[in-house]
Protein backbone atom coordinates (compact mmCIF):
# COMPACT_ATOMS: atom_id res chain seq x y z
CA UNK A 1 0.00 0.00 0.00
CA UNK A 2 1.23 3.50 -0.70
CA UNK A 3 0.86 6.47 1.59
CA UNK A 4 -2.52 7.65 0.24
CA UNK A 5 -4.09 4.20 0.51
CA UNK A 6 -2.77 3.73 4.04
CA UNK A 7 -4.06 7.13 5.15
CA UNK A 8 -7.49 6.53 3.63
CA UNK A 9 -7.74 3.14 5.34
CA UNK A 10 -6.68 4.59 8.69
CA UNK A 11 -9.02 7.60 8.52
CA UNK A 12 -12.07 5.37 8.99
CA UNK A 13 -10.81 4.09 12.35
CA UNK A 14 -8.81 7.12 13.46
CA UNK A 15 -10.51 10.28 12.20
CA UNK A 16 -8.03 12.51 14.05
CA UNK A 17 -5.00 11.50 11.96
CA UNK A 18 -3.94 13.93 9.27
CA UNK A 19 -1.59 13.59 6.36
CA UNK A 20 1.07 16.24 6.39
CA UNK A 21 2.13 17.27 2.94
CA UNK A 22 5.56 18.80 2.47
CA UNK A 23 7.28 20.63 -0.36
CA UNK A 24 10.14 18.13 -0.35
CA UNK A 25 10.83 14.61 0.85
CA UNK A 26 8.43 12.04 2.31
CA UNK A 27 4.83 12.53 3.47
CA UNK A 28 4.15 12.05 7.18
CA UNK A 29 1.10 11.00 9.17
CA UNK A 30 0.37 13.20 12.18
CA UNK A 31 -1.43 11.81 15.19
CA UNK A 32 -2.29 13.37 18.59
CA UNK A 33 -0.31 11.88 21.52
CA UNK A 34 -3.41 10.58 23.29
CA UNK A 35 -4.14 8.07 20.51
CA UNK A 36 -0.62 7.29 19.33
CA UNK A 37 -0.26 3.92 21.08
CA UNK A 38 -3.65 2.77 19.82
CA UNK A 39 -2.80 3.75 16.25
CA UNK A 40 0.64 2.16 16.35
CA UNK A 41 -0.80 -1.02 17.84
CA UNK A 42 -3.30 -1.17 14.99
CA UNK A 43 -0.51 -0.66 12.46
CA UNK A 44 1.54 -3.42 14.09
CA UNK A 45 -1.18 -5.99 14.62
CA UNK A 46 -3.70 -5.58 11.80
CA UNK A 47 -2.64 -8.06 9.10
CA UNK A 48 -3.37 -5.72 6.18
CA UNK A 49 -0.87 -3.15 7.56
CA UNK A 50 1.57 -5.61 9.15
CA UNK A 51 4.25 -3.13 10.22
CA UNK A 52 6.45 -5.69 11.97
CA UNK A 53 9.56 -3.54 12.12
CA UNK A 54 10.38 -0.16 13.64
CA UNK A 55 13.11 1.14 11.36
CA UNK A 56 13.80 4.30 13.32
CA UNK A 57 12.45 6.35 16.19
CA UNK A 58 13.64 9.93 16.53
CA UNK A 59 13.03 12.74 18.94
CA UNK A 60 13.22 16.24 17.53
CA UNK A 61 12.88 19.84 18.59
CA UNK A 62 11.68 22.53 16.21
CA UNK A 63 12.14 25.33 18.69
CA UNK A 64 8.38 25.55 19.29
CA UNK A 65 7.31 21.95 19.84
CA UNK A 66 8.82 18.51 20.34
CA UNK A 67 8.33 15.58 17.97
CA UNK A 68 8.55 11.85 18.19
CA UNK A 69 8.78 10.35 14.71
CA UNK A 70 8.30 6.62 14.05
CA UNK A 71 9.53 5.20 10.76
CA UNK A 72 7.76 1.88 10.26
CA UNK A 73 8.47 -0.83 7.76
CA UNK A 74 6.69 -4.05 6.83
CA UNK A 75 8.75 -7.01 5.67
CA UNK A 76 5.62 -8.83 4.53
CA UNK A 77 3.99 -6.10 2.43
CA UNK A 78 7.19 -4.18 1.66
CA UNK A 79 5.67 -0.82 2.47
CA UNK A 80 6.70 1.93 4.86
CA UNK A 81 5.13 4.78 6.78
CA UNK A 82 6.27 7.71 8.90
CA UNK A 83 4.13 8.62 11.92
CA UNK A 84 4.69 11.84 13.81
CA UNK A 85 3.48 12.72 17.30
CA UNK A 86 3.68 16.40 18.24
CA UNK A 87 4.19 17.11 21.94
CA UNK A 88 4.02 20.36 23.94
CA UNK A 89 7.34 21.59 25.35
CA UNK A 90 5.97 21.94 28.90
CA UNK A 91 4.89 18.34 29.39
CA UNK A 92 6.21 16.04 26.65
CA UNK A 93 4.71 12.65 27.43
CA UNK A 94 3.84 9.78 25.13
CA UNK A 95 3.17 6.06 25.59
CA UNK A 96 6.14 3.74 25.10
CA UNK A 97 6.04 1.26 22.21
CA UNK A 98 8.57 -1.21 23.63
CA UNK A 99 5.80 -3.80 23.94
CA UNK A 100 5.12 -3.56 20.21
CA UNK A 101 8.73 -3.43 18.99
CA UNK A 102 11.51 -4.55 21.32
CA UNK A 103 13.94 -2.41 19.32
CA UNK A 104 12.28 0.75 20.62
CA UNK A 105 13.94 0.41 24.02
CA UNK A 106 17.23 2.14 23.18
CA UNK A 107 15.62 4.56 20.73
CA UNK A 108 13.24 5.81 23.40
CA UNK A 109 15.98 6.05 26.00
CA UNK A 110 18.01 8.16 23.57
CA UNK A 111 15.05 10.47 22.89
CA UNK A 112 14.53 10.81 26.65
CA UNK A 113 18.22 11.45 27.19
CA UNK A 114 18.61 14.19 24.59
CA UNK A 115 15.12 15.75 24.42
CA UNK A 116 13.54 14.97 27.80
CA UNK A 117 10.59 13.22 26.21
CA UNK A 118 8.97 10.93 28.80
CA UNK A 119 7.86 7.55 27.48
CA UNK A 120 5.22 6.19 29.83
CA UNK A 121 5.46 2.49 30.76
CA UNK A 122 9.01 2.15 29.44
CA UNK A 123 10.83 -0.66 31.33
CA UNK A 124 13.95 1.37 32.24
CA UNK A 125 13.72 5.01 31.26
CA UNK A 126 17.27 6.09 32.14
CA UNK A 127 19.83 8.23 30.35
CA UNK A 128 21.61 6.24 27.64
CA UNK A 129 24.45 8.25 26.11
CA UNK A 130 25.09 10.90 28.76
CA UNK A 131 26.20 10.34 32.37
CA UNK A 132 23.31 9.53 34.68
CA UNK A 133 23.69 12.80 36.63
CA UNK A 134 23.86 15.15 33.63
CA UNK A 135 21.48 18.09 33.92
CA UNK A 136 19.22 19.30 31.13
CA UNK A 137 18.25 18.05 27.67
CA UNK A 138 21.12 18.82 25.25
CA UNK A 139 19.19 18.04 22.06
CA UNK A 140 16.78 20.90 22.58
CA UNK A 141 17.28 24.16 20.75
CA UNK A 142 17.26 26.25 23.95
CA UNK A 143 19.91 24.15 25.73
CA UNK A 144 22.76 26.16 27.20
CA UNK A 145 26.09 24.36 27.38
CA UNK A 146 27.12 24.08 31.05
CA UNK A 147 30.25 25.75 32.42
CA UNK A 148 31.26 22.70 34.43
CA UNK A 149 30.39 19.12 35.18
CA UNK A 150 31.10 17.71 38.67
CA UNK A 151 33.61 20.48 39.32
CA UNK A 152 35.45 19.88 36.04
CA UNK A 153 35.47 23.01 33.88
CA UNK A 154 34.12 22.26 30.41
CA UNK A 155 35.55 25.33 28.72
CA UNK A 156 39.29 25.62 28.39
CA UNK A 157 41.13 28.90 28.48
CA UNK A 158 41.40 30.48 25.07
CA UNK A 159 38.48 28.49 23.71
CA UNK A 160 35.82 30.37 21.81
CA UNK A 161 32.75 31.39 23.77
CA UNK A 162 29.25 31.32 22.34
CA UNK A 163 29.42 35.10 21.96
CA UNK A 164 32.65 34.83 19.94
CA UNK A 165 31.03 32.37 17.56
CA UNK A 166 27.95 34.59 17.20
CA UNK A 167 30.24 37.55 16.43
CA UNK A 168 32.17 35.68 13.76
CA UNK A 169 28.94 34.41 12.17
CA UNK A 170 27.55 37.96 12.08
CA UNK A 171 30.79 39.22 10.53
CA UNK A 172 30.66 36.51 7.87
CA UNK A 173 27.05 37.25 7.04
CA UNK A 174 27.83 40.96 6.70
CA UNK A 175 30.73 40.06 4.38
CA UNK A 176 28.45 37.84 2.31
CA UNK A 177 25.85 40.58 2.01
CA UNK A 178 28.44 43.10 0.91
CA UNK A 179 29.75 40.66 -1.68
CA UNK A 180 26.27 39.93 -3.02
CA UNK A 181 25.53 43.66 -3.24
CA UNK A 182 28.77 44.23 -5.15
CA UNK A 183 28.04 41.36 -7.56
CA UNK A 184 24.52 42.70 -8.15
CA UNK A 185 25.89 46.18 -8.76
CA UNK A 186 28.44 44.83 -11.25
CA UNK A 187 25.73 42.90 -13.06
CA UNK A 188 23.60 46.02 -13.31
CA UNK A 189 26.60 47.97 -14.54
CA UNK A 190 27.41 45.27 -17.13
CA UNK A 191 23.83 45.23 -18.42
CA UNK A 192 23.70 49.02 -18.66
Amino acid sequence: MDFEALTARLKTRFPEVEAQAAQAGDPVLRVPPARSLELLRALRETPEFGFDSLACLSGADTGKELWVVYHLHSFEHRHRLAVKVVLPREKPEVESVVKLWAGAEFFEREAYDLYGIVFKNHPVLRRLLLPFDWAGWPGRKDYVYPEEYQGVPLRREGQYTVEDVAKSVAAREARDKELQARVAAEKRGGAG
Partner: protein
Protein backbone atom coordinates in the same frame (compact mmCIF):
# COMPACT_ATOMS: atom_id res chain seq x y z
CA UNK B 1 37.50 -52.61 67.68
CA UNK B 2 34.96 -54.29 65.50
CA UNK B 3 32.00 -52.50 67.06
CA UNK B 4 33.64 -49.12 67.06
CA UNK B 5 31.45 -46.18 66.31
CA UNK B 6 31.76 -45.34 62.59
CA UNK B 7 33.55 -42.10 61.96
CA UNK B 8 31.10 -39.45 60.95
CA UNK B 9 31.88 -37.60 57.79
CA UNK B 10 32.73 -33.98 58.50
CA UNK B 11 29.92 -31.65 57.57
CA UNK B 12 30.63 -29.91 54.29
CA UNK B 13 29.27 -26.38 54.29
CA UNK B 14 26.83 -25.96 51.42
CA UNK B 15 28.31 -23.76 48.70
CA UNK B 16 26.28 -20.61 48.61
CA UNK B 17 26.14 -19.17 45.15
CA UNK B 18 26.08 -15.42 45.01
CA UNK B 19 25.72 -13.15 42.02
CA UNK B 20 28.65 -10.99 41.21
CA UNK B 21 28.79 -7.79 39.16
CA UNK B 22 31.75 -7.47 36.81
CA UNK B 23 32.81 -4.90 34.27
CA UNK B 24 33.85 -6.73 31.16
CA UNK B 25 36.58 -5.90 28.70
CA UNK B 26 38.82 -5.32 26.91
CA UNK B 27 38.49 -8.27 24.55
CA UNK B 28 37.15 -7.14 21.23
CA UNK B 29 38.88 -4.15 19.57
CA UNK B 30 35.71 -2.19 20.29
CA UNK B 31 35.80 -2.71 24.04
CA UNK B 32 39.04 -0.80 24.63
CA UNK B 33 37.52 1.89 26.73
CA UNK B 34 34.46 2.66 24.63
CA UNK B 35 32.09 -0.18 25.50
CA UNK B 36 31.54 -1.27 29.06
CA UNK B 37 29.54 -4.41 29.68
CA UNK B 38 28.12 -4.68 33.13
CA UNK B 39 27.90 -8.42 33.69
CA UNK B 40 25.93 -9.96 36.50
CA UNK B 41 27.28 -13.47 36.82
CA UNK B 42 26.39 -16.56 38.78
CA UNK B 43 29.63 -18.51 38.68
CA UNK B 44 30.52 -18.78 35.02
CA UNK B 45 26.96 -18.17 33.83
CA UNK B 46 25.80 -14.72 32.75
CA UNK B 47 22.59 -13.60 34.46
CA UNK B 48 22.51 -10.31 32.59
CA UNK B 49 24.90 -8.34 30.41
CA UNK B 50 23.97 -4.68 30.28
CA UNK B 51 25.81 -2.57 27.70
CA UNK B 52 26.85 0.82 29.05
CA UNK B 53 27.42 3.15 26.11
CA UNK B 54 28.03 6.82 25.47
CA UNK B 55 31.80 6.96 25.96
CA UNK B 56 32.24 8.01 22.33
CA UNK B 57 29.30 10.40 22.17
CA UNK B 58 30.42 13.45 20.18
CA UNK B 59 26.99 14.98 19.58
CA UNK B 60 27.42 14.66 15.82
CA UNK B 61 23.66 15.11 15.35
CA UNK B 62 23.74 18.40 17.26
CA UNK B 63 26.80 19.57 15.32
CA UNK B 64 24.84 18.98 12.10
CA UNK B 65 22.25 21.55 13.18
CA UNK B 66 24.99 24.19 13.20
CA UNK B 67 26.55 23.37 9.82
CA UNK B 68 25.48 23.77 6.24
CA UNK B 69 24.63 20.60 4.34
CA UNK B 70 27.96 20.48 2.52
CA UNK B 71 30.02 21.12 5.62
CA UNK B 72 28.60 18.09 7.40
CA UNK B 73 30.05 15.54 4.96
CA UNK B 74 33.41 15.06 6.78
CA UNK B 75 31.52 14.28 10.00
CA UNK B 76 29.78 11.34 8.35
CA UNK B 77 33.21 9.73 7.93
CA UNK B 78 33.49 9.71 11.70
CA UNK B 79 30.08 8.11 12.23
CA UNK B 80 31.49 4.78 11.10
CA UNK B 81 35.15 4.97 10.25
CA UNK B 82 35.45 1.35 9.14
CA UNK B 83 33.25 2.12 6.15
CA UNK B 84 33.51 5.87 5.66
CA UNK B 85 32.61 5.64 1.94
CA UNK B 86 29.31 3.97 2.79
CA UNK B 87 28.59 6.58 5.46
CA UNK B 88 29.28 9.35 2.93
CA UNK B 89 26.97 7.59 0.50
CA UNK B 90 24.10 7.28 2.97
CA UNK B 91 24.24 10.98 3.83
CA UNK B 92 24.58 12.07 0.21
CA UNK B 93 21.56 9.97 -0.78
CA UNK B 94 19.40 11.53 1.92
CA UNK B 95 20.27 15.13 1.06
CA UNK B 96 19.95 14.46 -2.67
CA UNK B 97 16.47 13.04 -2.14
CA UNK B 98 15.51 16.04 -0.04
CA UNK B 99 16.90 18.61 -2.48
CA UNK B 100 15.95 16.71 -5.65
CA UNK B 101 19.46 16.38 -7.05
CA UNK B 102 20.11 13.85 -9.83
CA UNK B 103 23.55 12.32 -9.81
CA UNK B 104 25.28 11.69 -13.18
CA UNK B 105 25.67 7.99 -14.15
CA UNK B 106 29.47 8.00 -13.97
CA UNK B 107 29.42 9.38 -10.44
CA UNK B 108 26.88 6.70 -9.46
CA UNK B 109 29.17 4.01 -10.88
CA UNK B 110 32.16 5.32 -8.95
CA UNK B 111 30.07 5.51 -5.79
CA UNK B 112 28.92 1.89 -6.11
CA UNK B 113 32.48 0.76 -6.75
CA UNK B 114 33.76 2.60 -3.69
CA UNK B 115 30.89 1.38 -1.51
CA UNK B 116 31.56 -2.26 -2.39
CA UNK B 117 35.33 -1.97 -1.92
CA UNK B 118 34.70 -0.44 1.49
CA UNK B 119 32.21 -3.19 2.34
CA UNK B 120 34.91 -5.77 1.59
CA UNK B 121 37.47 -4.04 3.80
CA UNK B 122 34.97 -3.58 6.63
CA UNK B 123 33.87 -7.23 6.55
CA UNK B 124 37.50 -8.38 6.53
CA UNK B 125 38.13 -6.51 9.78
CA UNK B 126 35.02 -8.02 11.35
CA UNK B 127 35.90 -11.58 10.31
CA UNK B 128 39.50 -11.23 11.46
CA UNK B 129 38.56 -9.60 14.76
CA UNK B 130 36.04 -12.34 15.52
CA UNK B 131 38.67 -15.00 14.89
CA UNK B 132 41.07 -13.07 17.10
CA UNK B 133 38.51 -12.97 19.90
CA UNK B 134 38.26 -16.73 19.62
CA UNK B 135 42.02 -17.05 20.13
CA UNK B 136 43.23 -17.28 16.53
CA UNK B 137 45.51 -14.33 15.82
CA UNK B 138 46.67 -15.13 12.27
CA UNK B 139 43.35 -14.59 10.40
CA UNK B 140 43.22 -11.01 11.70
CA UNK B 141 46.57 -10.30 10.05
CA UNK B 142 45.31 -11.85 6.81
CA UNK B 143 42.30 -9.56 6.97
CA UNK B 144 44.50 -6.53 7.58
CA UNK B 145 46.79 -7.41 4.64
CA UNK B 146 43.86 -7.57 2.21
CA UNK B 147 42.35 -4.41 3.67
CA UNK B 148 45.63 -2.58 3.05
CA UNK B 149 45.15 -3.18 -0.68
CA UNK B 150 41.75 -1.51 -0.53
CA UNK B 151 43.22 1.36 1.48
CA UNK B 152 45.92 1.80 -1.18
CA UNK B 153 43.21 2.03 -3.83
CA UNK B 154 41.33 4.65 -1.81
CA UNK B 155 44.53 6.57 -1.16
CA UNK B 156 45.20 6.81 -4.89
CA UNK B 157 41.68 8.20 -5.40
CA UNK B 158 41.33 10.71 -2.59
CA UNK B 159 44.55 10.81 -0.60
CA UNK B 160 43.12 9.42 2.63
CA UNK B 161 43.23 5.93 4.06
CA UNK B 162 40.51 6.01 6.71
CA UNK B 163 38.23 9.04 6.57
CA UNK B 164 37.81 9.79 2.90
CA UNK B 165 35.30 12.63 2.50
CA UNK B 166 35.31 11.59 -1.17
CA UNK B 167 31.62 11.69 -2.01
CA UNK B 168 30.03 15.09 -2.44
CA UNK B 169 26.40 16.12 -2.62
CA UNK B 170 25.58 15.42 -6.25
CA UNK B 171 28.61 13.37 -7.22
CA UNK B 172 32.16 12.55 -6.22
CA UNK B 173 35.04 14.89 -5.42
CA UNK B 174 37.67 13.75 -7.93
CA UNK B 175 38.12 11.81 -11.15
CA UNK B 176 39.66 8.33 -10.88
CA UNK B 177 43.44 8.15 -11.44
CA UNK B 178 44.48 6.59 -14.79
CA UNK B 179 45.51 3.12 -13.57
CA UNK B 180 42.69 2.78 -11.04
CA UNK B 181 40.41 0.44 -12.98
CA UNK B 182 43.30 -1.92 -13.77
CA UNK B 183 44.28 -1.97 -10.10
CA UNK B 184 40.68 -2.59 -9.13
CA UNK B 185 40.42 -5.48 -11.53
CA UNK B 186 43.69 -6.90 -10.26
CA UNK B 187 42.30 -6.71 -6.72
CA UNK B 188 39.11 -8.53 -7.74
CA UNK B 189 41.32 -11.28 -9.19
CA UNK B 190 43.57 -11.33 -6.15
CA UNK B 191 40.92 -11.56 -3.42
CA UNK B 192 38.92 -14.77 -4.18
CA UNK B 193 41.91 -17.17 -3.86
CA UNK B 194 43.01 -15.29 -0.74
CA UNK B 195 39.53 -15.69 0.73
CA UNK B 196 39.75 -19.40 -0.10
CA UNK B 197 42.93 -19.53 1.93
CA UNK B 198 41.25 -17.58 4.73
CA UNK B 199 38.38 -20.08 4.74
CA UNK B 200 40.78 -23.04 4.80
CA UNK B 201 42.58 -21.41 7.68
CA UNK B 202 39.69 -20.54 9.96
CA UNK B 203 36.14 -20.96 8.59
CA UNK B 204 36.50 -24.74 8.28
CA UNK B 205 38.38 -25.04 11.56
CA UNK B 206 36.37 -27.32 13.83
CA UNK B 207 37.48 -25.63 17.08
CA UNK B 208 36.37 -22.27 15.69
CA UNK B 209 33.04 -23.74 14.59
CA UNK B 210 32.48 -25.36 17.99
CA UNK B 211 33.00 -22.00 19.66
CA UNK B 212 30.39 -20.23 17.52
CA UNK B 213 27.72 -22.82 16.68
CA UNK B 214 24.48 -22.55 18.70
CA UNK B 215 25.86 -19.53 20.57
CA UNK B 216 23.87 -16.30 20.76
CA UNK B 217 20.92 -17.55 18.72
CA UNK B 218 18.56 -14.82 17.45
CA UNK B 219 15.33 -16.32 16.08
CA UNK B 220 13.90 -14.52 13.01
CA UNK B 221 10.90 -13.01 14.83
CA UNK B 222 13.10 -11.57 17.59
CA UNK B 223 15.56 -10.22 15.02
CA UNK B 224 12.73 -8.35 13.27
CA UNK B 225 11.22 -7.08 16.54
CA UNK B 226 14.59 -5.84 17.77
CA UNK B 227 15.17 -4.05 14.50
CA UNK B 228 18.35 -5.93 13.65
CA UNK B 229 19.56 -5.00 10.18
CA UNK B 230 22.03 -6.04 7.54
CA UNK B 231 24.08 -9.22 7.92
CA UNK B 232 22.81 -9.73 11.50
CA UNK B 233 19.23 -9.85 10.23
CA UNK B 234 20.04 -12.00 7.20
CA UNK B 235 21.90 -14.48 9.43
CA UNK B 236 18.54 -15.11 11.12
CA UNK B 237 17.12 -16.21 7.78
CA UNK B 238 15.30 -13.00 6.77
CA UNK B 239 16.13 -12.28 3.14
CA UNK B 240 16.21 -8.48 3.16
CA UNK B 241 18.87 -6.36 1.55
CA UNK B 242 18.14 -2.73 0.73
CA UNK B 243 20.40 -2.95 -2.32
CA UNK B 244 18.13 -5.67 -3.70
CA UNK B 245 14.69 -4.93 -2.28
CA UNK B 246 14.69 -1.12 -2.11
CA UNK B 247 17.30 -0.39 -4.75
CA UNK B 248 19.08 2.95 -4.61
CA UNK B 249 21.89 4.31 -6.75
CA UNK B 250 22.59 1.74 -9.52
CA UNK B 251 22.05 -1.42 -7.50
CA UNK B 252 18.82 -2.23 -9.35
CA UNK B 253 20.84 -2.91 -12.52
CA UNK B 254 23.56 -5.05 -10.98
CA UNK B 255 23.60 -8.80 -10.45
CA UNK B 256 24.37 -10.23 -7.06
CA UNK B 257 22.88 -12.66 -4.55
CA UNK B 258 21.71 -12.04 -1.02
CA UNK B 259 23.19 -14.73 1.23
CA UNK B 260 21.16 -15.68 4.31
CA UNK B 261 21.90 -17.84 7.32
CA UNK B 262 21.14 -21.56 7.03
CA UNK B 263 22.13 -22.92 10.43
CA UNK B 264 21.02 -26.49 11.07
CA UNK B 265 20.57 -27.27 7.38
CA UNK B 266 22.64 -30.45 6.75
CA UNK B 267 23.46 -29.31 3.20
CA UNK B 268 24.20 -25.72 4.20
CA UNK B 269 27.36 -24.07 5.41
CA UNK B 270 26.47 -24.40 9.09
CA UNK B 271 25.18 -27.97 9.57
CA UNK B 272 26.09 -28.19 13.26
CA UNK B 273 24.46 -24.91 14.27
CA UNK B 274 21.06 -23.37 14.67
CA UNK B 275 19.46 -20.65 12.53
CA UNK B 276 20.66 -17.22 13.68
CA UNK B 277 23.66 -18.30 15.75
CA UNK B 278 27.04 -16.59 15.85
CA UNK B 279 28.49 -18.83 13.13
CA UNK B 280 25.64 -17.91 10.78
CA UNK B 281 26.47 -14.25 11.26
CA UNK B 282 30.10 -15.04 10.49
CA UNK B 283 29.37 -17.11 7.37
CA UNK B 284 26.93 -14.56 5.93
CA UNK B 285 29.74 -11.99 5.97
CA UNK B 286 32.18 -14.39 4.31
CA UNK B 287 29.65 -14.91 1.52
CA UNK B 288 28.94 -11.19 1.21
CA UNK B 289 32.60 -10.51 0.48
CA UNK B 290 32.30 -12.78 -2.56
CA UNK B 291 29.13 -10.97 -3.70
CA UNK B 292 30.85 -7.60 -3.35
CA UNK B 293 33.71 -8.84 -5.52
CA UNK B 294 31.10 -9.67 -8.18
CA UNK B 295 29.73 -6.12 -8.00
CA UNK B 296 33.23 -4.62 -8.18
CA UNK B 297 33.84 -6.55 -11.43
CA UNK B 298 30.58 -5.28 -12.93
CA UNK B 299 31.39 -1.75 -11.83
CA UNK B 300 34.81 -1.86 -13.48
CA UNK B 301 33.28 -3.20 -16.69
CA UNK B 302 30.65 -0.47 -16.80
CA UNK B 303 33.20 2.24 -16.05
CA UNK B 304 35.37 1.01 -18.94
CA UNK B 305 32.37 1.35 -21.26
CA UNK B 306 31.74 4.82 -19.85
CA UNK B 307 35.38 5.75 -20.58
CA UNK B 308 34.75 5.19 -24.30
CA UNK B 309 32.26 8.06 -24.44
CA UNK B 310 33.61 11.41 -25.68
CA UNK B 311 35.06 13.68 -22.99
CA UNK B 312 32.28 16.24 -23.21
CA UNK B 313 29.42 13.72 -22.93
CA UNK B 314 26.85 14.40 -20.19
CA UNK B 315 27.23 10.87 -18.81
CA UNK B 316 30.93 11.38 -18.14
CA UNK B 317 30.40 14.13 -15.61
CA UNK B 318 31.24 13.29 -12.01
CA UNK B 319 29.37 16.13 -10.36
CA UNK B 320 25.82 17.34 -10.80
CA UNK B 321 25.16 21.06 -10.94
CA UNK B 322 24.17 22.10 -7.43
CA UNK B 323 23.92 25.53 -5.87
CA UNK B 324 26.92 26.50 -3.74
CA UNK B 325 24.69 27.07 -0.75
CA UNK B 326 22.15 24.31 -0.68
CA UNK B 327 18.73 25.25 0.64
CA UNK B 328 16.26 22.36 0.35
CA UNK B 329 12.57 23.20 0.50
CA UNK B 330 10.82 22.65 3.83
CA UNK B 331 10.13 18.98 4.37
CA UNK B 332 11.61 15.85 5.80
CA UNK B 333 13.12 12.67 4.49
CA UNK B 334 14.14 9.28 5.84
CA UNK B 335 16.58 7.69 3.43
CA UNK B 336 18.28 4.42 4.20
CA UNK B 337 21.03 2.48 2.54
CA UNK B 338 22.73 -0.86 3.06
CA UNK B 339 26.02 -0.39 4.88
CA UNK B 340 28.34 -3.20 6.03
CA UNK B 341 26.64 -3.04 9.43
CA UNK B 342 23.19 -2.89 7.91
CA UNK B 343 20.63 -0.20 7.34
CA UNK B 344 22.00 3.28 7.92
CA UNK B 345 19.16 5.76 7.86
CA UNK B 346 19.40 9.51 7.76
CA UNK B 347 16.33 11.36 8.97
CA UNK B 348 16.69 14.98 7.93
CA UNK B 349 14.19 17.77 8.59
CA UNK B 350 14.61 20.93 6.56
CA UNK B 351 12.96 24.27 7.34
CA UNK B 352 14.08 25.85 4.10
CA UNK B 353 17.31 27.30 5.46
CA UNK B 354 20.86 26.21 4.63
CA UNK B 355 21.16 24.18 7.84
CA UNK B 356 19.09 21.14 8.78
CA UNK B 357 16.54 21.63 11.54
CA UNK B 358 17.16 18.10 12.79
CA UNK B 359 19.40 15.31 11.60
CA UNK B 360 19.16 11.84 13.10
CA UNK B 361 21.36 8.91 12.17
CA UNK B 362 20.00 5.41 12.62
CA UNK B 363 22.74 2.80 12.60
CA UNK B 364 22.98 -0.98 12.64
CA UNK B 365 25.24 -1.39 15.67
CA UNK B 366 22.80 0.56 17.84
CA UNK B 367 20.09 -2.07 17.31
CA UNK B 368 22.58 -4.90 17.79
CA UNK B 369 23.43 -3.57 21.25
CA UNK B 370 19.74 -3.12 22.00
CA UNK B 371 19.12 -6.87 21.77
CA UNK B 372 22.40 -7.77 23.49
CA UNK B 373 20.97 -8.24 26.97
CA UNK B 374 18.27 -10.61 25.77
CA UNK B 375 20.59 -12.71 23.63
CA UNK B 376 23.35 -13.21 26.20
CA UNK B 377 21.13 -14.27 29.12
CA UNK B 378 22.28 -17.68 30.37
CA UNK B 379 25.43 -17.86 28.26
CA UNK B 380 28.92 -18.57 29.58
CA UNK B 381 31.21 -15.56 29.96
CA UNK B 382 33.52 -16.77 27.19
CA UNK B 383 30.54 -16.94 24.81
CA UNK B 384 29.69 -13.30 25.44
CA UNK B 385 32.94 -12.46 23.67
CA UNK B 386 31.82 -14.50 20.67
CA UNK B 387 28.48 -12.70 20.57
CA UNK B 388 30.08 -9.22 20.67
CA UNK B 389 32.41 -10.14 17.82
CA UNK B 390 29.70 -11.78 15.71
CA UNK B 391 27.43 -8.70 15.83
CA UNK B 392 30.24 -6.60 14.31
CA UNK B 393 29.66 -3.65 16.63
CA UNK B 394 31.45 -0.40 15.86
CA UNK B 395 31.08 1.98 18.76
CA UNK B 396 31.37 5.42 17.09
CA UNK B 397 28.30 4.38 15.16
CA UNK B 398 26.42 3.54 18.36
CA UNK B 399 27.21 6.75 20.23
CA UNK B 400 27.52 9.20 17.30
Amino acid sequence: MSDAVPVQAPEVPRVRSEEMVLSMGPHHPSTHGVLRLELTTDGEVVVSARPDIGYLHRAIEKIAEHLEYRQFMPYTDRVDYLCAMNSNHAYALAVEKLAGITVPPRAELIRVLMAELNRISSHLICLGALAMDMGAFTPFLHGIIHREKVNDLFESVCGARLTYNYLTLGGVAAELPPAFLDQCEAFSEYLPPQMQEFNDLITGNSIFQERLCKVGVVPPDRAVSHGLVGPNLRASGVRWDLRKHEPYSLYGQLEFDVPVGDGGDPKGSNPGGRLGDAFDRYVVRVKEVAESVKIVRQGVKRLRENDKLPESHEDRKIQAKTPLRLKPKPGEVYMRSENPRGETGYYIVSDGSEKPLRLKIRTGSFSALNCFEEITRGLLISDVVAVIGSFDIVLPEVDR
